[in-house]
Symmetry: C2
Subunit: 481 residues, 2 copies
């Protein structure tokens, strides 16, 4: 039994990223595969990360922007689904339907893959006048997309958890401004909470959301050179408003059609942080999402055991604000415990032994660097706070550097193919044509466009990396999850 | 437009409870019916109550008892479902299945009506030795039960939100003790958070959960004499452990079968508090679940408007801890606003007019009693806190009295029938036989057994109220939702 538990990660991150990733998720007990094909089980260690994301989100995104949580039905009538043609076309292949024997004579019911249609039917009744705008609704829920590709824990599964924000505005300008604001808030969440740098930008016509006029995205880059789309925000324009008959009486006492956006991020983010920060010892959790900021391990080796245990308990109480774990099991050695908690990603470890007690100090060890610090007991609270902040900053800095190092600029087609082959994130000028994008994917061995960064402009000299026609924008290409 | 919104509740609680209830839910914007038959939409005002319940729950039930949140798949393979015979039999009639065209060649997938089976399959892998016990898992999720009866907002719908706790123990004693502890914690939540008194007790054989050995319940009583089951806790004994092969290596190094309990409460609770506390003006929210504890209404009637508005904004900032609303719309009169916020159940109202400013005071009005109090500005914080506590206590006291007044003791069958006809909660001695319980339901016009209270013992003289055989226990009967 002990032996089985003892097993660490058996492959190296640099040797076999997919296998390493799966082992980290399984052994840190974040998630596991379910016997229901394509669905996963989020275990308490994984769900705690999701709860931390939800808490940050409700406090720092919903509250200041005036978005309110709600809950809409899991089932969507087929007729709703069909109302917006592009939307229906885009989602139909992956929709799961209820058995007709259940629904009886009525129309088919879909399990929600996203909730635009069922929400906007309600919005058409809720919105009467400009006084009801902006309307800002969010929901935390499960969604189902019947993927055929193999499940990857957190990264791809038929059911996942997410939030979906849905807002309605009087003007196009306000709608666009806020759609961009939400994607920027997502990027901020990634950096501030998850120490995860992302690229922010716009999707191409080919890659945008089914039913959107414009899709904004945040993209993280994984060590294998694949991009991971971590969140999107869509300017829906008036397409859904038209299909669902959403109208409002303006200040001018005339009837107008409002503007809408929707935006979502999912449990996929948990996969992103595992990929980005973890190492060959196991999970490295960015400290701000760690449920337990530290683990206290008493070094029980001699006659002072009782005294050491007592001190360890004292410390646990004293440090309650960091929700510490105390590992006082006597059937494992300290070394075994270090390995276990390193594998599970607890940000800090406190070791306390007989010598430390005499000196009124403890040993404080950082999970990411292994750095050891002898800390006087009375300074402990302060040092822990500082170590957690330092760890966050250092994870972010490292991840930023690694993102920067992955970017290459392709002056020509040869550069692009070489970059993709070398698992780089390739920046290039691009004409913007879907047909050309299809060719690039086909000829480069699977690179897709990731995003058009907000802050880069093309010049008249820039030509498309593939077709050499005048470039419309600078864009990133890479393989993706 | 304004007129439509202006409409208050058009029927009286005492005249037509179902219609009054629906109007309160709709006009306080707690929930609405969906076009998907049997499913409802929980609007932000309703969802805020659910969030308050979740927060209390995670802090006061999960945390102190060591229960951790997780997430299991929405879909349950038919073979899992069939493993525990009683469970399958009980739930089969209301299970919704996925369309076979989706699942393909594999087995049928159910939409979870409850998650015992899918969780316990995992538990059988997670649990190896006594060191892994107790295992305490909870999940917040949606469940689907394909009811055929008409939807009542919050009280009965095909999809609802709930939490389900699932624990595994080494001993039967620990398992029972904790199953009872959870039902007592539910009762505490109802009283402390929702000002809702409930009866706590055990279900009969007929009414217990499919697959349980013993079911404990909390039951609230509605003004129409119908009981509302608000939460249940089940001692599952070893039935599921046996079916799913859950075993552990004990301290004695032998293999044992563990003991399990499961327990849940749902969004139904929101309906219970609407029914219990609200009045003919609309919603009365128990203050501890109110998102906004108060609304500030400036009395803008004369030349001092700017000054009054400024003061109102100042108060809003000063009272931020109570998350106040400020209703500074100039198209409505103060009276109109009073009605609106009373209908929406905001616990306290602050009125501030020119005379009040001069006296450095405001008028503080309680939603439940209409009590007005002139409060000096500097005492406001303190007075609001006290008023909120007083309101909670007074709602609870009133609800307790009303529950007590509904109870009658039936010495004989005539008393029982009369009690049920008069919409009372009838206490009686009962033999415990399912057949007798069926007869009672049939002959009394629909009364079912609600619960066997923990604290009442039968004597040798007590005879069953129906069959006159020796009584097994004292029990409550009533109609129910």
């Amino acid at each position: 039994m002990a032996k089985e538990k003892d097993m660490g990660i058996t492959v190296k991150k640099e040797d076999d990223l997919p296998e390493w990733y799966e082992q980290v998720c399984l052994r840190a007990e974040l998630a596991e595969f379910s016997k229901v094909k394509g669905c996963m089980i989020i275990r308490p260690n994984g769900y705690a990360i999701w709860s931390a994301i939800q808490k940050y989100f409700d406090e720092n995104i919903n509250k200041p922007t005036g978005v309110r949580n709600s809950y809409f039905p899991l089932f969507i009538p087929e007729s709703f689904f069909r109302k917006e043609a592009e939307h229906a076309k885009g989602f139909t292949p992956e929709v799961a339907w209820l058995d007709k024997d259940v629904t009886g004579e009525g129309e088919r019911l879909a399990i929600r893959p996203t909730s635009e249609t069922i929400m906007y039917d309600s919005f058409s009744r809720w919105i009467r006048s400009y006084r009801d705008l902006p309307l800002k609704i969010n929901q935390w829920c499960n969604v189902v997309r019947w993927e055929t590709e193999a499940t990857k824990l957190f990264l791809r599964s038929r059911e996942f958890l997410w939030q979906e924000g849905h807002c309605v505005y009087e003007t196009e300008e306000e709608c666009r401004k806020e759609a961009i604001n939400y994607i920027n808030l997502y990027a901020k969440l990634c950096e501030e909470l998850l120490a995860l740098p992302v690229l922010v930008g716009q999707k191409t016509e080919k890659e945008k959301f089914a039913g959107a006029r414009t899709t904004y995205t945040i993209e993280a880059f994984m060590p294998d050179g694949k991009a991971l789309q971590c969140g999107t925000s869509h300017e829906l324009s008036q397409g859904f408003a038209k299909s669902f008959g959403i109208k409002f009486l303006g200040k001018d006492e005339k009837t107008h059609m409002p503007w809408q956006n929707s935006w979502g991020l999912s449990t996929r983010l948990i996969g992103a942080i595992v990929m980005a920060h973890s190492d060959n010892k196991g999970l490295v959790l960015p400290p701000r999402v760690a449920e337990h900021k530290l683990v206290i391990i008493p070094i029980i080796i001699g006659k002072d055991n009782a005294k050491i245990l007592e001190k360890a308990k004292e410390l646990k109480a004293q440090l309650a604000g960091f929700n510490p774990l105390l590992d006082d099991r006597d059937e494992y050695t300290p070394g075994w415990k270090y390995n276990e908690w390193e594998m599970k990603g607890i940000p800090l470890r406190i070791e306390i032994g007989p010598k430390d007690i005499a000196k009124e100090q403890v040993v404080l060890v950082r999970r990411d660097t292994g750095e050891k610090d002898f800390v006087k007991e009375k300074e402990l609270n302060d040092k822990i706070t500082k170590a957690l902040d330092a760890m966050h900053d250092s994870l972010l800095k490292k991840a930023r550097k690694s993102l920067k190092d992955m970017i290459v600029f392709a002056k020509n087609w040869g550069d692009l193919v070489k970059g993709i082959r070398e698992r780089k994130l390739v920046k290039a000028a691009f004409c913007g044509e879907t047909e050309c994008e299809d060719w690039i994917k086909d000829k480069s061995g699977g690179a897709s466009s990731r995003c058009i960064p907000f802050d880069e402009k093309v010049t008249e000299e820039d030509k498309c990396v593939y077709c050499k026609k005048p470039a419309k924008y600078i864009i990133y290409f890479s393989k993706s999850y």
